[in-house]
Point group: C2
Chain length 446, copies 2
Amino acid sequence: MSEQRQMHLGVLLLAAGNVVSGWRLPEAQAGSQNFPLVQDVARTAERGKLDFVFFADAVNTFPGMHPSMVLRLEPLTLLGALTQCTSHIGLAATASTTYTEPYNLARMLASLDHLSGGRVAWNVVSGAFAEAAANFGTAKHPPHEERYAIAEEFVQVAKGLWDSWEEDALVMDKASGKYVDADKVHVLGHEGKFFQVKGPLNITRPPQGYPVLLQAGASDTGCHFAASVADVVFTVQQSKDAAIAFARRLYDLARGYGRDPSHLKVMPGICPIVGSTEAEAKAKLAELGALVDPVYAMKVLSERMGHDMSVFPLDGPVPTLPPSSIMQGHAITLAETAARQNMTVRELRDFVGMSMGHKLVCGSPEQVADELEEWFRDGAGDGFNLLPPYFPGGLENFVDHVVPVLQRRGLFRTEYTGRTLREHLGIPRPEHPAARKAGNALPEPA
Amino acid sequence: MSEQRQMHLGVLLLAAGNVVSGWRLPEAQAGSQNFPLVQDVARTAERGKLDFVFFADAVNTFPGMHPSMVLRLEPLTLLGALTQCTSHIGLAATASTTYTEPYNLARMLASLDHLSGGRVAWNVVSGAFAEAAANFGTAKHPPHEERYAIAEEFVQVAKGLWDSWEEDALVMDKASGKYVDADKVHVLGHEGKFFQVKGPLNITRPPQGYPVLLQAGASDTGCHFAASVADVVFTVQQSKDAAIAFARRLYDLARGYGRDPSHLKVMPGICPIVGSTEAEAKAKLAELGALVDPVYAMKVLSERMGHDMSVFPLDGPVPTLPPSSIMQGHAITLAETAARQNMTVRELRDFVGMSMGHKLVCGSPEQVADELEEWFRDGAGDGFNLLPPYFPGGLENFVDHVVPVLQRRGLFRTEYTGRTLREHLGIPRPEHPAARKAGNALPEPA
């Protein structure tokens, strides 16, 4: 029993809920910027011993956007606040490699890792929304392949900056007056295609060495990027077989990059709708469905597909479209799902309106646990990224009723055994690289 | 008595102390990244009913830097944490307009203002250290005048972004399903010399309208910038007469920009060294002086002057130098002080090593209060920015022994009467600009 492999669980905290209509339920707390709600949900997740709570992000908005995305507390400052309201759970923020500077972002993430005692993760995104470019004076959102090339170099720079200070470089010896050991502080001197960053960073190495890296690549380039750098990979999957194939592919790619595949955690997204009985869960699903605004749902579908879907006949088949340059993971999975089930545009719209493209798991606590267990045991990943339909109840139902079932089955922890997110995930802390070439050390202050 | 004008007090939290050797005192807690210390100091400041705690910043480092600056928690994420550890005190972070993007910074500050319930301030700096450029792939630190032009446009963009959402644009009406009122969400469409930012921002208007703006301009350009946009102006002053002249100049300039000068708070920096008797304070000053490393002090002097001062004869007079392009406020005040007191380079070095160029006020609680009262009553400003020599004791002594004297004299509040930093400072909340031209409103989602 003690040897049984356990699943990892994270929760995506979209404050107005994952289902487009989630906020409209009588028991839901609306509020894109409602910090008391966010704090309450993070504490519920910690009570459930979840690995992490995770915040999505985008650096643009428009009034017709998903209610959970149209307005948000900024994730990095929000994580700062949550470091003081939680004690064990991991805290994951999305940040874009296209619209931030590596020096600024690396130090914020390091700062958060210090403030949280090693509980921080960075969801590396290259920026899904082309509209963001207009907020950054950039003529054009860089194309997909270039965005990944930028992201790759960005992560390399961030890691280099996190290694600026050797672990024992901060001396603070009152007797001698020596504050830092200059021999143990290194310039980076990065001169790349997209970034030139000298360093050193103005903060010591994060408690976790590097914050945990999350990624959600789904295109071929994205999968390679995720397999080469990510600790956790999010994925959109509707069928168990496709999920198994995806996980295997990621582990194989990771092996190809010289990594131990057990250090790469693949987590499909799951929208859990839990009732005390199957009937109750189905009634909740119907209630949510009845509240979905079809206009919103069509916008979300178009966003997910990377094409305006409202131009096609509603009751015609879902057309075959050229690849999206935006969110390929969603586009691929939705196209597959539509093809498998012969969906019309209307059906796909309603499906996305409910689940945002993620897998709905609806039923009694035992039924939900059964489905998660089956996917997990059959190799569809290392756990799940939960996308509750609304808050706070959508997560409370899972934590209070499904987590105990998973715990009784030995599939999930009953207590945190570590303090850092890396410890929760069972992935090693990267050691500081061997002392670099001597010429790179900065001279002692003369 | 109730009509008596009261002073405002902020504290600069340089974790290793303001005096270069502060951290070496037996009772000091060293620790550039020591969050428990920062939290403790912020709570002490709040116990003392201070207006705000303030964090300096720079986006570069080198091992010989001032111990308080060489390593630091990143200010914006740090403020996020402090929003949850404090309830009333203002929280001020420095952030550079040269090395950040307006969209990113405006939303972080808005997010912090929401998280803190309206207690956030932004110390607008154009980036004092030329070495920072190398961390941002920029060939060259922009020259002084251009940095101010960038800062001016940056602040204009930030204010425009903070006004993206009218106060009642977030509807969240469960019955109708209307989440936002699109008519009340505005694009900015800024097309300037340095920035092109479309907007809208993805967060509602900050509780304070705009976060409080701090500035420390001292050059002619800097004074104009401060007088036109700042709510609080920090200044380095050694003589009361110069401080009075500076404050008057700022109020006059503000009037010239059409502002009510009583809404501009001028706060000279003061390094308070408080003993239970004058003798005890002087002994502490001597103890601190004996611990100053002259190599460090010379580096700080060179930084402050914008010139390498170690090339001049130590016991010769302080040479007349061309204006620094970096920290003009410090350079001007130090040159004046050296001229007034016929200082040698060695004397100026030791002076800076102690005070960082700010005014030392050393004595019993009554003596320190006397000097602050005299400056305040004579019009040298609206209060003081405290730069304690070390932490936590350097602030505790002030809060426990000087604040009560000021309170007995009716010169400082005995309780917070407001909740926002604007309320503490007695400056109005900027109203949302009248509805913009109708064509600028985004269409309802079709």
